[in-house]
C-alpha cells in the first residue's frame, strides 16, 4: 500500500473539492450559522432552505426546472438524431467532401457562442422563433451537432462494411440500414452524446438568457441569476438552489461517467 501517496492524494483532493463540500453542507444550515462557521457541520440541521425554494410565491424554481427539463431533453433528442444521421450518411461521401464538411464542423466546434449570438437572435426573430423554447432548442441542436457528429463518426468505424453492404443486398434502403443496422451499434456513442450535450445544455447560461428573452424566459441557471438579483442574498437558499440544479447532472455523471470521459476523448480525439 502506497500510504504516503494515498495521504497526499486525499489531502489535495479534499482541498480541491472543498467548494463542493461547502455548498452542500451550508445548504442545510440557518443563515446565522453559515456566516459564523461556514466550514463546520451544521449546529442545527434544517431543511428550511429547500422548503423555501419550493414554496416561493413566484414559483421561480419549479418554472425554471420544468423549462430546463423541456429544452434539455428536446435538444438532446435533436442532437442525437441529427448527428447520428449526419455521421452515418457522411460515410458514403467521397473523402474530399467528407473533409470539407469536417472542416466546417470543426469551425463550429471551436466557436465561442457570444460571437454569433447577435445574428442568431436576429435570425430567430426573422423566423418568429425568438423568445421561444423551439428557437432555443434549434440553436442548441445546431451548436452541438459538430460534437455529436464527431463522436458518432468515431464509432462508425466499428461498424463492419460487410454488414452495411449485406443489408443493401437484402434490399434495405438507407433509412432502414440506418435504423436497423447502424443505430444499435452506436448505442455507446449515443450514451456519450446524451450525457455530455445534456450537461452542457443544462448548464448553459448566456445563450438561454439572450435567446429566451432577458426579461421573461427562465432556466435553472437564469433562475439562479434572477434569484441573486432580486433581494439581498440569503446564502442558505442560494446554496440549496445550487445543490438542486446541480444534482441531476452530478447523478447522471456518477452513473454514466465511463461514457462521459470516452465521449470527450472521442469528440476531441481527431
Amino acid at each position: 500500500m502506497p500510504y504516503k501517496r494515498i495521504i497526499i492524494s486525499i489531502f489535495l483532493s479534499m482541498i480541491f473539492l472543498f467548494p463542493l463540500y461547502m455548498i452542500f453542507i451550508n445548504s442545510f444550515k440557518f443563515e446565522l450559522d453559515i456566516i459564523k462557521n461556514p466550514a463546520a457541520l451544521p449546529d442545527i440541521f434544517t431543511l428550511n432552505n429547500y422548503l423555501n425554494i419550493f414554496s416561493r410565491s413566484d414559483q421561480l424554481f419549479t418554472k425554471s426546472l420544468l423549462n430546463s427539463l423541456l429544452f434539455t431533453s428536446l435538444s438532446i433528442l435533436f442532437v442525437l438524431i441529427l448527428s447520428s444521421m449526419l455521421a452515418f450518411s457522411m460515410y458514403f461521401l467521397s473523402n474530399k467532401i467528407q473533409n470539407i464538411i469536417f472542416i466546417f464542423l470543426l469551425l463550429g466546434l471551436i466557436l465561442p457562442t457570444p460571437i454569433i449570438l447577435i445574428p442568431v437572435f436576429t435570425i430567430l426573430k426573422f423566423l418568429k422563433l425568438n423568445n421561444t423554447v423551439v428557437g432555443l432548442v434549434l440553436f442548441f441542436s445546431a451548436y452541438y451537432l459538430p460534437f455529436g457528429t464527431l463522436v458518432f463518426r468515431g464509432f462508425m468505424k466499428n461498424v463492419p462494411k460487410e454488414m452495411i453492404e449485406a443489408s443493401f443486398i437484402d434490399g434495405a434502403n438507407f433509412l432502414i440500414c440506418y435504423y436497423k443496422i447502424v443505430l444499435p451499434v452506436m448505442k455507446p456513442a449515443a450514451a456519450s452524446v446524451i450525457i455530455i450535450t445534456g450537461t452542457w445544455v443544462w448548464n448553459d447560461f448566456l445563450n438561454p438568457l439572450i435567446l429566451l428573452g432577458p426579461l421573461q424566459g427562465t432556466t435553472v441557471t437564469v433562475g439562479l441569476y434572477r434569484m441573486v438579483g432580486q433581494y439581498s442574498i440569503n446564502f442558505g437558499e442560494l446554496f440549496a438552489f445550487m445543490v438542486l440544479i446541480s444534482l441531476p447532472v452530478v447523478i447522471a455523471y456518477l452513473f454514466l461517467q465511463k461514457y462521459f470521459i470516452e465521449g470527450l476523448m472521442a469528440g476531441s480525439g481527431k
Binding site: 502506497p2 501517496r5 492524494s9 486525499i10 489535495l12 483532493s13 480541491f16 473539492l17 467548494p19 461547502m22 455548498i23 456566516i35 461556514p38 466550514a39 441529427l82 448527428s83 444521421m85 449526419l86 452515418f88 450518411s89 460515410y91 458514403f92 463550429g108 471551436i110 465561442p112 457562442t113 457570444p114 460571437i115 449570438l117 447577435i118 445574428p119 442568431v120 436576429t122 435570425i123 434549434l138 445546431a142 451537432l145 457528429t149 453492404e165 443493401f168 434502403n173 438507407f174 440506418y178 448548464n203 447560461f205 448566456l206 439572450i210 435553472v220 441557471t221 439562479l224 441569476y225 441573486v228 445550487m242 452530478v250 455523471y253 461517467q257 470521459i261 470527450l264 476523448m265 476531441s268
Partner: protein, 291 residues
C-alpha cells in the same frame, strides 16, 4: 461504397443536420462580418452602411483594449496552471488502488457544474467576510483583502474559479492518456535507471502530447467565451476592471443597442480565437507526430 439506390432517402439523412448547422451557425458567422460594416439598432430598426467606421471607433475604444488584455491574461494563466496542476493530479492519482479510483471519479465533478454555479460558489468563498478571509484570520495572516472588490485581486479570483473547473477536465484527460502508456515502456525506463524527473521528461511528457493538445484547445475556447463565471463573481467590476470581451459584446449589443459596433468586436474575437486555436492545434498536433 457507391450510392446505387434511389437518392431521396439518402438526402433525407444527410441534409437536415447540415441545413440547421448552416442556418444557425455558418450564416451567423457571415452575418457577423456583414453587420460590422453597418450602424444597427434593434430599437429604431436603423440599418445604415457606414463602411469601416466601426473599426476606426474600435481602435480608440479603451474598454475594448482593456477587455482584450483581461481575456489574454486569463487565457495564459489558465493554460499554464490548468495543465500543470492537471498533470500533477493525474500522475498522483494514476494508481490502481480503490481509493484512487474513487478520487478519480470525484475530481471531475467541478467540470460538470454550471459555470454560473461555480461563480456564485467562489463568490461566497471570496467575499469580504467569506471563508477564505476567516481562514486567513485564524492563522493571523493579512485578512482584510477584498478578493472581489479590489481590481488587483479580482482577476486572481476569476482565474481561480476558471482554473478550478479546467484542472478537473485536464486531470481526467491526462489520466486517460496515462492509462495508454504501455507498461513495457515503463519497465524499460526503470531498467535503464532513470530518475523520476528523467522518467517524466523522456517517457510521460512526449506520450502525453495528445492530451496536452485536447486540454489546451478546450482551455482556449473556455477562456475566449468567458462570461458566466465573471458575471457571478464580479459582474465585470470593480469598474470595468474584469470585463471580458464577451461581456463587452453583449453589453454593447443588448444594453447600449449598438449592434453593428458590437459585431465588429465579435469579428475581432472570431479572428483572434480562430487563429489562436488553429495555431495551437497545428503546433501541438505536430508535436504528437514527431515524438
Amino acid at each position: 461504397m457507391k450510392i446505387t439506390k434511389n437518392k431521396i432517402d439518402y438526402f433525407l439523412l444527410l441534409t437536415p443536420g447540415l441545413i440547421l448547422f448552416s442556418v444557425l451557425i455558418m450564416l451567423p458567422i457571415v452575418l457577423t462580418i456583414f453587420y460590422s460594416f453597418f450602424k444597427i439598432s434593434f430599437l429604431t430598426n436603423q440599418f445604415d452602411y457606414i463602411g469601416l467606421k466601426n473599426f476606426y471607433k474600435l481602435l480608440h475604444k479603451k474598454d475594448f483594449y482593456n477587455s482584450l488584455q483581461i481575456v489574454l491574461s486569463l487565457t495564459i494563466i489558465a493554460t499554464i496552471f490548468s495543465n500543470l496542476i492537471g498533470i500533477i493530479f493525474a500522475k498522483l492519482l494514476n494508481h490502481n488502488n480503490k481509493i484512487f479510483i474513487v478520487l478519480r471519479v470525484l475530481i471531475f465533478t467541478p467540470f460538470i457544474l454550471s459555470p454560473i454555479v461555480v461563480g456564485y460558489t467562489f463568490s461566497s468563498i471570496l467575499t469580504d467576510n467569506g471563508i477564505l478571509n476567516q481562514f486567513l484570520a485564524y492563522f493571523s495572516i493579512e485578512h482584510n483583502i477584498s478578493w472581489l472588490g479590489n481590481s488587483k485581486y479580482a482577476l486572481v479570483s476569476i482565474s481561480i474559479a476558471l482554473c478550478w473547473q479546467l484542472v478537473a477536465f485536464c486531470t481526467v484527460i491526462y489520466l486517460a492518456c496515462l492509462k495508454n502508456i504501455p507498461s513495457e515502456l515503463e519497465d524499460a525506463v526503470n531498467i535503464d535507471g532513470a530518475n523520476n524527473l528523467q522518467k517524466f521528461r523522456y517517457l510521460d511528457w512526449p506520450l502525453l502530447a495528445p492530451a496536452l493538445t485536447i486540454n489546451t484547445v478546450v482551455i482556449l475556447i473556455s477562456s475566449f467565451k468567458l462570461y458566466d463565471r465573471v458575471l457571478a463573481l464580479t459582474g465585470g467590476g470593480p469598474g470595468r476592471s474584469t470585463e471580458t470581451i464577451s461581456m463587452l459584446i453583449i453589453r454593447t449589443a443588448f444594453n447600449e443597442n449598438r449592434v453593428g459596433f458590437a459585431s465588429s468586436m465579435s469579428l475581432v474575437l472570431l479572428i483572434l480565437s480562430g487563429v489562436t486555436t488553429f495555431v495551437a492545434l497545428i503546433y501541438l498536433g505536430k508535436r504528437e507526430v514527431t515524438t
